[in-house]
Structure formats: C-alpha cells, structure tokens
Assembly symmetry: C2
Homo-oligomer: 335 residues x 2
C-alpha cells in the first residue's frame, strides 16, 4: 500500500495520533507570552547540574517523562525513542537514550528536528513498525551559543539579525490508537543552499528551504495555504519570515494572517531583548508541543501545518568558508 | 499490518531489495585484503580538495553517484536520501544532500550509521512511503582524528588499543522491486553505557551495545547465531570483538567461525599499523556494501547479519568527565 503523495510527501493512512505532549522551558521562555502553556518553567539555566549540557539533558529527559506520565505510560510501553539536538554528536539525545533505555533512532536536522522526528515517528507507526514511539528534541541557549558562536559569559555583542536560542525541551508520544491531534501528512525537505554565510543570519539562510518545502507540500497534496487554520515555521525570525512570504508570493502562494513563526511567538520583543526572534530545536518544539497542542485539544485550532527549519552548517564549515545550507520538514496536524 | 517482531525488531514484509551498492576508499584501505572489492581507490587523502572535510564530502557523493550509475538511475529517481557521518552537525551528509538535491533524512548514529540508514530505508520502502531510497555514510581518517583526538599532522602516539578510522564512503539503493540481497529484518538498538571512558578504547565501549542488540535480535526472531552464514559487527576491533564473544557466551550464544568484525577484515594487521583494527562509519560501510555485497551477489554468502556499532560520545562530554555510551543496530540481508 503506497502512502506516498506527490514527490516529497506522504499521506499517512491510518493517521497516527499525537496522544501526549510535554514542553519544559527556561526562565526567559516562561516569562514570554506563551509561558502559561508550558508544563514546567525552570527557575534558572543550570538547574543544579554540573554543566549547561547536563542541564539540557535533564530538560530533555524531564519532557519525555512528563509526556509519558500524562498518559500513564511507562518507558517499557514505548517501542522507539526518536531524538536529536544541536550539540555535536547529538549527545543530549544519545545520553538521554541511555538513561531512558528505549531503542534509539538518532536524528540530525538542527532546528528542523521536531518535524523530522514527528514525520519519522508517524511513518514508523503508520507503517506498522511500532505501536507507540516517543519523539523529542531540545536546545539550550548557553550550550548552543558556546558551541556555535561564543560562550555567553563573554558578553559578546550580537548583531540585530541574530536570534535567541530557546532553552527547553519538548516530547510527544505518537501512537496507533488514542486521542488527540493526528499526524495526517508529512513533507520531507530538500537541503537548499543559497550561499548565505552569516552565522547570525540563520533566518535568511533557512527561508529558501522553508519555501521549497511549503511549495512542495501544497503541490504534492493539492492544497492551498488556506487549508490550514495556522501554518507555523520553526525559527525563521523577523527576517526569515518576511523573506519566506516574498518567496512564496513569487510562486503564487500568499501567506495571510494564518501564517506565523514560532520564533516570533515565543518571546515578547518589546520586553525581551531577543534580536530577530527565537531559534533552536526547542523553539518549534515547545511552541508546537506546549502551546499549539493545547490550542488544538481545546478546539481553537483544527488543522495546522508545522514547518520546522534547520541550518545544517557547523563552525568548522563556516571557518572553511562554506555557506549555510538549510532544510525544512513539514507535518500536518489535524483534530 | 504489523511488521513488528518481538521487542526491538521488525520483519520486513515485503522485504526491500538492496538493488545497488558502491564503496569508495582511501589508499590504505585499497592496499588492504579487500582492496579488490571496492569500486574506487583514491590515490591520496586530499584528492585535490581544499580540506579533508571537503574530500570526505566528495567521497560520499562519489559513492552515491556510483551506486545510482550501476542501475542507470538518476538523482530524480530516488525518493529520499538517508545519510549520516561522524563530523559535527553531520556536515558531510548535509552538504552532500544539498549537492544531490534529494529530500533528506539526516541520521546520527556515529559508526552505527550504516545499519541505522539501512533499517530506516528498508522501513520507508516496506511501509509504502518510498519506492527507492539512497542510504549512505562516510568517514575520513584525518577529519575524524582532528575532531575527536588530535590532528594527524601532530604525529601523536596512539595507544595499542586505538583503532584506525577508515577513509571512505559507501552508498546503497534500497528499492521495492529489483534484484539483489533483501533486507529481511532489522533490530534497533538501545544505547548502553557501561562507564567506559577511554576515547581510544571505543571497541570496549561499544561491545556491550553490540551484545545487547544481538541477543535481542536472536530472541525477537527466535534465531540462533548459526542461522546466518556470517555475522559481522561494525568496528569493535580486537578488544571489542573478544569482549563481545565473552558477553554473548554468558547469555548462551556462542559465536563460532561465522562471526567476524569489519574492523578486523579491512586491514592487514601484519603489514599495516592500525592498532586494534579499523573504525569509523565507513568501516562497516565499505566492508558490507563493497566486499560482502559482492560475496552475496556471487552466491558465496546467502544470509548475513550486519551489526554496525557506534560510540555516541563527543570531545565535550569526555572533557566533562562523562563515559562513552554505545549503540548497535542490526540488519539481516538474505539472497
């Protein structure tokens, strides 16, 4: 039975359920406009762990355990753990997989990890390979900044186009049966490299990939943007989101008020100094699995399209003069 | 239709075909005992590229194009590209995905990437999500050494238990129809951390994960080791392979002469100074998709079990005093 639709998409039949979701965040995200929708707001960035990296691991594991707890599930009920993060060798995910003891699919999609994990997890369930999987991702402002740019302790001044890496983690249980929003379709993105080289301007580097995936999604499934109550990209920020609107308009797809970007939703730019918006794996992670999941369960949103966006460079490739490739994967959630 | 078998395994029905495979290697691997079975032996490690990292990318792309060419396939015939490597942010795979222009699933499993990609690719095809996928992985001695330990130019002395990172890349086309060995089953591993902290003793760190996955595979599918003509682990090397035999014997599974390790097959230890054996994503990559694939096509081997093994640490986690978690995924190939 083919589940393929068009060139890069799948229509999932039967559509798996997002039966549970949890999101934990750092203090700054807790003070943002969506603060009420997160399951746990940590009071500080180290949370008594010996390093920021260890704190990020603790957050990821906490999000996973909370997602299980909400459905009275135990670790042994989960067939596979799908996770990825920003750190070299995705060590947050790998060490967490050891701690959780669930068979592990390690993913890398930078900040597109949420929809990579949800797509993959939905296919595992729809294909009959699993009954229940746990999909998760995380990022931490201090572990990411010091790996990609400068340790935050340096107080390095950031240019205006820079975005703020979200501290937090999100996890979801995807099941063959249950209640909740269903993952009805997914579009796997191509990697698009338009030659952008500014490590602080990742929104601009990722926007062409988001446009590519969205256009493919609409064409593969013969849908218009107004099919969805809400289309959210992951972390394009102000500059990337504006660029995406332009790129889509050129292809005949006008994004109206039903478009937003998780990086523009998570902070209050008038009160919080976050540059062009939020970023990081946890940006779409906590906005979708914390905030939007609740809005869907409460009936405010019925159909949403999540397009998490990732920049696939490394400090090594930038140092070697390479440009920044972007990728975006789309997942349709319907209730 | 459930394709799940036991706790961590799937029995793929219909079983996808490994319709094409290619392996390219560096000069040292070309001089080893399997040299004749590789599609291309590069004369040096830089191959006229501006960096070792760029050379590794070129090797990965070359392996992909060779695998396609053998079946007269074009890039547009492939639904998804599944790849991962050892470099931070898997940049070899990500930049190659941009160059190839195929929708991309980014994976991270360190040296277990081959069987992670083959498992996931087989599920995509068996589940009806794709007709043809391209699974690939790579490693390069110089890019890996300088990231994980010291730049090779330093001439740092290596302890005896150290292994030699294989330079090369391997790619396979997995299709719903065609000819060649079939991927009949896969077992997804748990991450196992026994507290090993020696960054030069990765074989020992990974052996418990290989044991865990093998035992699970045998129990899930009710098979004994003698079901297979050959069982190969990825890169346990001398120390890890001996440890694996002991761990399995304790659980009642004696590995006989039908067990080998790709890290022990690829070099000639009497003529080549490789410490405890080969390692790296390309180790099982080129041994399986170069050498063993040919042996299966020629009828010498009918059933093999490949268990690629990965160490999921990073230099950062080791520097922070963490131990080295291992993972192993198993794929059964039958013709």
């Amino acid at each position: 039975m083919s589940q393929k639709a068009g060139r890069q998409s799948v229509l999932l039949d039967p559509s798996p359920y997002l039966t549970s979701a949890a999101a934990v965040v750092g203090p700054m995200e807790g003070k943002g406009p969506l603060g009420e929708d997160f399951d746990l707001v940590y009071p500080d960035l180290r949370i008594k762990e010996k390093s920021f990296e260890a704190a990020e691991r603790k957050m990821l594991q906490e999000a996973c355990l909370l997602a299980l707890k909400k459905q009275d599930l135990r670790l042994g009920d989960i067939d596979y753990f799908l996770a990825g993060d920003l750190l070299n060798q995705i060590t947050v995910s790998g060490y967490s997989a050891a701690a959780l003891g669930i068979p592990f699919f390690g993913l890398y999609g930078a900040c597109s990890t949420l929809t990579l994990a949800l797509s993959w997890g939905a296919m595992l369930v729809a294909g009959g390979f699993a009954q229940k999987v746990l999909a998760a991702t995380s990022s931490h402002n201090c572990s990411a900044e010091r790996q990609y740019r400068y340790p935050t302790e340096y107080g390095f001044q950031r240019p205006r186009q820079a975005q703020w890496t979200v501290t937090g983690a999100a996890a979801a249980v995807i099941g063959a049966a249950g209640e909740g929003p269903r993952i009805t379709a997914a579009t796997i993105g191509k990697v698009v490299d338009m030659g952008e080289k500014d490590a602080y301007g990742l929104g601009a580097a990722m926007a062409p990939a988001a446009a590519s995936t969205l256009i493919r999604h609409f064409e593969d499934l013969q849908r218009r943007p107004d099919y969805y109550d809400l289309i959210v990209t992951g972390d394009l920020g102000q500059i990337g989101a504006a660029l995406l609107r332009k790129l889509l308009a050129r292809s005949g797809y006008c994004l109206e008020d039903n478009y937003n970007d998780c990086g523009l939703m998570i902070y209050n730019p008038e009160l919080q100094d976050v540059g062009a918006g939020g970023s990081g794996c946890a940006c779409s992670g906590v906005v979708v699995l914390g905030h939007l999941y609740r809005r869907m369960k409460e009936g405010e949103l019925k159909r949403i399209l999540v397009v998490s966006t990732g920049a696939l460079h490394s400090p090594t490739t930038l140092g070697q003069g390479e440009s920044i490739p972007g990728v975006a994967h789309a997942v349709a959630l319907e209730i």
